[in-house]
């Protein structure tokens, strides 16, 4: 049986003490919790998970991205205000405590999720995650392809559809969309262009020429060459 996430966390911290590892809860009935790993030490942690004799997580089954956009949170904050009240027949300014409704923006991030199993020990899964700093300009994460080659195409897919840039990936190109494509379709705020069925082809030029040809023919000028 695989160790619990707490034990794995302790094992990582014993070997790599400077790497911060956090347990991410999972309230669903299956209760498979995951480990959040700091990107800068991720490759080191991954090497440990793969080569440790007890864990031997040699098989990266699934690598995927998740987009968590900026969230506006409405929360009630205890606060005080001054109100004028009539106390004993005299108008006075008194302090009153109340709950103020505040709106706050929780910054979003992109997340890469990896499901690890062990073929040697036949156990698993261990879920590890990495988060980018934001969703716009700091979207780099270290590639785990040097540790598990299984991530090669899957990280390319994440780069393609979510826009996470994996540093250290040997061949980071778009996988499913074409190279000239600009956006990242799996992001939550992606809006598909309304004209994406349109594709300029040689056929359109032919149509324009045909139209000119027909107009000339209808005008009684006889056949027009070309």
């Amino acid at each position: 049986m695989i160790k619990t996430v707490e034990e794995i966390k302790a094992a990582i911290e014993a070997i790599i003490p400077y790497a911060k590892v956090e347990i991410v809860p999972n309230p669903s009935p299956c209760g498979q919790r995951s480990l959040l790993i700091e990107p800068q030490f991720a490759v080191e942690v991954a090497e440990f998970l793969r080569s440790d004799e007890d864990l031997a997580l040699d098989f990266l089954s699934n690598a995927t991205g998740v987009d968590w956009p900026d969230k506006e949170v409405t929360e009630k904050v205890p606060s005080t205000r001054k109100v004028i009240k009539t106390v004993d027949g005299v108008e006075q300014e008194v302090e009153e405590s109340y709950e103020e409704t505040q709106k706050r923006i929780v910054p979003g991030y992109l997340e890469a999720v990896y499901h690890l199993f062990s073929m040697k020990k036949k156990h698993g899964p261990l879920v590890i995650r990495m988060r980018t700093a934001n969703r716009t300009d700091r979207v780099e994460l270290p590639s785990l392809t040097p540790v598990w080659r299984s991530a090669e195409f899957q990280e390319r897919e994440i780069f393609d559809l979510f826009g996470i840039v994996f540093t250290g990936h040997p061949d980071l190109r778009r996988l499913l969309m074409w190279d000239e494509f600009k956006d990242h379709p799996m992001r939550r705020d992606y809006v598909a262009p309304d004209d994406f069925e349109y594709e300029p082809t040689a056929h359109d030029e032919v149509l324009v020429r045909a139209k000119a040809h027909q107009a000339a023919f209808a005008g009684g000028e006889g056949t027009v060459a070309g």
Binding site: P27, Q32, T64, A151
Partner: protein
């Protein structure tokens, strides 16, 4: 370069050291020739392209190009209800829709904590093993066809596949797009007549497999073409996440049915066939042997199947809103480990819906297997991976 050119990527070598041969400059006068195989090449089973760089007839570089059938299945999954996605999973690997249904149902059941009645578990096993047999039979048929034996072996496989598809049709209403599993069971019950017919088909299977094996396994041309071709070393296969018959042909004993015991697989006696030469011939043989083991499972399941409901009458399927959380469900599909990763935010649609496609990930090692071989062998090695483009491109 030696003939067994997998040595190009030893297990100790890290990707930063992977060598990418130089791009072929037009008019450079070099001996290398860049050929685009596909996307309409008859051997690619659909629209798949390989950028192959050739030195004479020998492959020195091969880059797969994906995306011709891309429809962003995962995005559709995030805008459709949980149940609404069930028929869509049929279209992933359209040869084995029932396995896809099961993997998806398993992931959602993990997310909601639903239980599955006994009879439904048996029906799922029966249908998944039938799916495996017809998938392996046709995979071998296509492989032999790519070798040049046009038609005959494939028709032997398809003759048997028809019998199984007839069973699927009479139970689910469709031959290939079955849409049969539900969260917490199956859609309709199998009648006693259907089970009798299934027993009849299973009784005929060992004869078919014997015939198929005798027809092919000791064929001199097949042996000459397959043995020692496309060798994939086990440590490379494990590191690249290869699963399914391809992994087991490389000698790694890993079968999700044995490891996870999902469903009721711990009740059946079956063995996991392994290859010991790691080549195309082993992949062919492992598939034949897996068909035999599947037949054994079917015999046991059809004998033991209990009576009872196939779905809990209280099981909710329409408009479910699982509690926030995530789940990863995986099964041993005919092509490898098929997984579904779901994140729920408590809404009607999944927050994240992800398919772990075995067909795509099994192609990770395609270049390594092909390096140093002839173009004709590339077709063969590619056929031995057994992919379906509906799942690769999603």
């Amino acid at each position: 370069m030696p003939y067994f050119a997998n040595e190009a990527f030893p297990a100790t070598k890290r990707p930063e050291g992977w060598s990418h041969p130089p791009q072929v400059e037009p008019g450079s006068g070099g001996d290398l020739l860049e050929v685009s195989m596909g996307p309409h090449h008859p051997s690619t089973h659909g629209v798949f392209r390989m950028d192959v760089v050739l030195d004479g007839e020998r492959v020195v570089r091969l880059k797969p190009v994906f995306g011709y059938l891309h429809r962003n299945h995962e995005k559709i999954g995030e805008s459709t209800s949980y149940l609404g996605m069930m028929p869509y999973t049929d279209r992933l690997d359209y040869f084995s829709s029932l396995s896809n249904n099961w993997a998806y149902a398993l992931a959602v059941e993990k997310l909601t904590g639903q239980e599955v009645p006994e009879r439904a578990e048996y029906l799922r096993v029966i249908l998944a093993e039938f799916t495996r047999i017809q998938n392996h039979a046709s995979a071998i048929g296509f492989l032999i066809q790519e070798m040049g034996a046009s038609g005959t072996p494939l028709m032997y496989a398809f003759r048997e596949r028809e019998k199984i598809l007839d069973l699927f049709e009479s139970l689910t209403g469709s031959r290939m797009m079955c849409n049969y599993m539900r969260f917490g069971g199956c859609r309709v019950d199998a009648s006693p007549a259907w089970l009798d017919q299934a027993r009849k088909v299973v009784a005929g299977l060992p004869g078919f497999i014997d015939e198929f094996q005798q027809l092919l396994a000791s064929n001199e041309i097949l042996m000459a073409r397959c043995q020692g071709v496309g060798i994939l070393r086990p440590e490379l296969a494990v590191n690249a996440g290869i699963t399914g018959p391809l992994l087991r042909a490389s000698g790694v004993d890993y079968d999700v049915r044995k490891v996870d015991h999902y469903g009721i697989y711990d009740r059946f006696k079956f063995r996991v066939p392994l290859g010991d030469h790691w080549d195309v011939y082993d992949r062919f043989m492992v598939r034949i042997l897996e068909m035999r083991e599947s037949t054994r499972i079917l015999e046991q399941a059809l004998k033991e199947i209990p009576t009872g409901p196939v779905i809990d009458p209280k099981a909710k399927n329409r408009g479910i809103r699982p509690k926030p959380g995530e789940a990863y469900g995986r099964i041993e599909g005919p092509k490898g480990e098929l997984g579904f990763y779901l994140i729920s935010d408590g809404g009607l649609t999944p927050y994240r819906y992800r398919v772990r496609p075995p067909s795509l990930i099994n192609l990770t090692e395609l270049e390594d297997m092909c390096l140093g071989h002839d173009v004709a062998d590339v077709v063969l090695i590619f056929g031995s991976v057994d992919i379906v483009l509906g799942e690769v491109d999603r």
